[in-house]
Amino acid sequence: MSVTILSSQIISFIRSVFIFRYQYWCCAFLLALLCCVGALLTSSIFRDGIKIETSLQALLPQDKNHKIVQLASDKLFAASGNKVVLLVESDDRRLVLQAAAQVEERLGASPVFHLIDDTFIQHQSDVLLNTLGSQPFNFLSDDHRQQLSQGEVSVLLNDAHMALFDLVGADGVLPPDQDPVGLFNDWFSSAYSPPDNILREDGFLFVSGSSAKLVGELSDGLSGELKASSTFSILIVAELVGDALGTNVQDHVIQLMSGVYAALPEGVTLSRSGMIFHAAETAAKAKQDIMLVAIGSTIGIVVLFLFAFISPMPLLVSLTSIFFGCAAGAIITHSLFGELHVFTLVFGASLIGVAIDYSLHFFASLYYPDTGDSLSAEGSQSAEGSLSAKGSLSAEGSQSVEDTQNTKRSAYDTVAGIFPEISAGLLTSLVGFGCLLQSTLPGLDQIALFSMVGLASSWLFVVVLYPRICGTPNSPSLAKRFRALSIIAMAPSVFWRRLGLNRVKAIYFLLFVFAIAILWLNIQWSNDIRSLNVSSPELLQEEARIRQKLQRQGANQFFIVAADSPEALLREEEVFSEALTLLTKTPALQAYDAVSSYLPSEQRQIDNYQLIEKTFFSDSRVMETFMQGLGFSAKAMREYMSAFEKGKNSVLTPEQWLKSASPELAMLWLGDLDGRYASIIALQGVSEVVALEALASRFENVLFVDKVADISLSLSSQRDQAGYLLALAYFGIACLLLLRFRRAKALLLIVVPLLASLLTVAVLSLLKIEIGLFHLFGLFLVLGLGMDYGIFLTGPSSEKERVLVAVFLSAITSCLSFGLLSLSSIPMINAFGGTILLGSLFNLLLVPLVSLLGETRREEAKEADPGDSDSRTLDSEISKLNSVTSQ
């Protein structure tokens, strides 16, 4: 913020030194520079391609405290971004099979989906078994390790012998000649055991709702076992071919899924889960919002302009300036960030309502007749004083204003006349948006930069090009239109004035008291992550349904284990897993998935091999005797012994395992992260977070991650941070005002947005809306807009009526664009838009109060410092306003 204050001082200094003509050419140079840079950047964007980001992951707060956690989250996200899971359900088995077949057929025929079918799965399991089976003597289940360590070999051999005669026997993943005792088979079936609620039947994956008691009739087939709550559920998994975030793919998926839903037989339901559905929904909603805001704002602006200025020229020029601002914002933001988030475009579309202000002030000043003659002579003097106090107009500009009163002015003079106000307006908006840059939500950086560049570019366009392209109007109807508009625009001023000063003061005081009382009693803060949620309730319900079916409730919590080497990491996991296994015997946790369950550390593999060697292959030749007794051929025995010898000192490394492991298991291995190796331990059925946290705290290299809690905490701290930044923004703008007017009463200007903000939050609280981060971000704009209105009103008093009309038109456009945002179905945009809509309305209602309250202090100020031209300026301006409103 100190930078902002410093820059404002520099600007004041520049403005006090240079005359407008120099400022104009400076602006022209900046515009030319902007155009050149923009052209260069545009060519590079077209060369590299435009990238529109629709994933909300980009907007989520980054975990800066633990880089490793962020990397883990990113990896999880990347690993599953292109998968979709569908759940087809019905009470009727025949129907569910028919529907699932239909869905598979449609997905299979689609060019964007690749069904994860038998072929794919079998290939994966083949590769995995080949890798693991190449080292069959390195793996032992916990039970077998214990038995062998305690020398309980006879039981083991007896069981293996008997199993050969079982009805269902000798059917492990390795045949008896490769695993006579069944050691590897036992380890494999315990480590890679299938979930107990999913079965294959009729070529489909049937899922049960609960692993509790499964009761079924044989007539229902095996899926009858899975028929929980009399519903048959079939799981379909597919992989997305192409970019889930590509708009073409999203459009195709939306179309495909609507076809799938339409073709579902009656009595069948379909649930979806997958990033693509969220991304497609987000993109569709964002597109809808952009269309709503852009079209709504544009129509509003077209109607307003045609009514207010009759000629289509102001409209076309204004739209061009807005387009220029948006294009510049988009190009520079895209170039700096390498992409544009779709939310940036949504918020950007709402900027139309702010950027149009500059055009409105220009055309109101250029097109409407001057009312200076209706004011007292003091008006012109004070206008002069005002200008000199600001020191921003050249003698030429100043002279022009004086000379052309009651006459039509040139566009150049008009720009010179409004330059201080629109510049101050821009500055306050930049301060407001600049504060958003302080947020740690990454998406807001883009929004802030887009808005700042967009507004500054529109401002440059107005200042530099309007004098060159706008002619002097010549329509006899303009005066009538102006009169009509000014009656409406002045209504609030007239209303306040008729109440009388004392009543106004009382109302002002009461409003403050009311707002503060409401806030004190009713305000409810929210750090609910649902505010970041844009997915439809239907999609969330469907996802919850799939999660419930698959019994994955603890999806947002996991452990991260870190160590200096892959081997150290696996050993660390093995030690931690022992403690975790104990925890699974309590209600705190149901189960967990760790890499070391699937791939023991090298040390453990060697230990296992040595244990087997000592037990079966030592001098006692237990294995040889056993195989001989069973009737194995001499050849089979030789091959088995030879395989054992070959396996000596060879271990399966994480690199080898990762090549064969399914992507879903490999995802648990985070690998090398800045010199440290890390892995994830996924959890199922978490019911006592405290116990998990306590366990992790006992291990130096283990971190418990609770994403929901972390994000809620992050939102909470960002909300606090936003509150401080807002206070800082008020302070910064107060300093700017003091620098500009050099009188404390200038601070009255800041009272308008302050009270408007308080009232906005009070009304929201009364409506039982919880105040969150995005409401606070909206308040930054309320501050910026409120300051704009106030500052515009501090311009030359001869302009007051025109300024009030311009402020009125400006407030209408703001309300229109932000009001349309408040209709958004996306909670964060809705909160943002709603806050600004209310804030703008309060700003518009309260702005005239500045002049009324200022009036009460005028005499006092004069007494205090009769020679102070600055104080005269503000007071006289306020008195002009009063005289106008009283007419």
């Binding site: 989520l60 999880l76 996200f77 599953s80 998968k83 899971v85 994860i116 072929t119 794919f120 799965i121 079998q122 399991s125 083949d126 995995l128 080949n130 050969l164 005669f165 009805l167 269902v168 492990g172 045949p175 494999f188 890679y192 055991s193 299938p194 979930p195 107990d196 999913i198 079965l199 039947e201 009729d202 994956l205 499964l214 009761v215 044989l218 007539s219 095996l222 899926s223 076992e225 899975l226 889960s273 990033m275 969220h278 991304a279 987000t282 649902r530 997915s535 996802e543 698959l550 994955r552 999806a555 947002n556 009737g631 194995f632 051929s633 001499a634 089979a636 399914s662 879903e664 996924a682």
Partner: protein, 270 residues
């Protein structure tokens, strides 16, 4: 989409894929990677689909099963790497809707009850060594076994492509049933008593690729009940089970019932 959705989504996908892979891997036996997975089930039978359906329907009608069936079996298993056949014999009880009791008597005693809710191992007659709720995959195996022994064709067809034909009868009194059924199911109009003497063969090939990698083929031979089962594993192992002396009853005796419900109340096994 909130972060919960993002992560939930991730884990849902992980879970479902893992499920698929694990379910597949567990059923696999010494997989040969070179055998590409895109092999479709080829219906080797020359029998027309409609004709096959009629045959299966007729077999279903022909099966005569009372709620409780008691019989003897002899099992011969030939496994890769062995220089002898593993022979065992014993008795079995098949109790409809309650499960299968399989008792190996030779070369040693070993018995298992594949019940609906329990898998019970017997260390000696009447002595339970373990009683556990079976995992779903184990239940799947026992249900298939029960469907095989009960010749429950409807259930079997959920897992296998079934092709069937009637075998020529040795006594010459009956014609080969292939012909009879080929004639648009006219066999159904034959004399019912003679039809019951017909024997049939059924070939079952797993529909599911994962199961196919473990189990190449199941061959059943039967009449009014199952006579023989031949299991050909993908790794070359062959198990041949012959059944004899089936004795059908309306309900089991108390001691037989207790093999299914060893710790239940008396009412259950009166």
């Amino acid at each position: 989409m909130n972060v919960a959705s993002v992560l939930s989504c991730t884990f849902v996908i992980v879970m479902s894929l893992s499920a698929s892979v694990f379910a597949s891997a567990s059923a696999d036996v010494n997989a040969d990677v070179n055998e590409k997975a895109n092999a479709k089930v080829v219906e080797k039978s020359n029998v027309e689909p409609n004709q096959n359906a009629l045959t299966l329907e007729k077999i279903t009608d022909q099966i005569e099963l009372k709620p409780f069936l008691r019989g003897a079996f002899r099992q011969e298993r030939t496994l890769k790497g062995f220089n002898r056949t593993l022979v065992s014999s014993g008795q079995y009880y098949f109790w409809k809707d309650h499960g299968l009791y399989w008792e190996v008597q030779k070369p040693f005693f070993r018995a298992t009850t594949f019940g609906n809710d329990l898998t019970i191992s017997w260390s000696s007659p009447g002595e339970v060594s373990s009683s556990t709720a079976p995992k779903l995959i184990q239940k799947q195996i026992s249900k298939v076994l029960i469907a095989v022994l009960g010749a429950d064709i409807e259930t079997l067809q959920r897992y296998f492509v079934a092709t069937a034909h009637y075998n020529p009868v040795a006594d010459g009194g009956e014609e080969g049933d292939k012909r009879g059924v080929t004639d648009n199911g006219e066999a159904g109009e034959r004399d019912e008593a003679s039809a019951k003497k017909l024997t049939w063969s059924m070939q079952l090939e797993p529909k599911d690729f994962a199961t196919r990698k473990a189990l190449k083929q199941l061959d059943l031979i039967g009449g009014t009940s199952i006579h023989e089962i031949r299991v050909t594993s993908s790794n070359g192992g062959i198990t041949h089970i012959q059944f004899s002396g089936p004795n059908m009853l309306e309900q089991p005796l108390k001691k037989q019932c207790e093999l299914y419900y060893p710790q239940t109340t008396e009412e259950m096994c009166q």
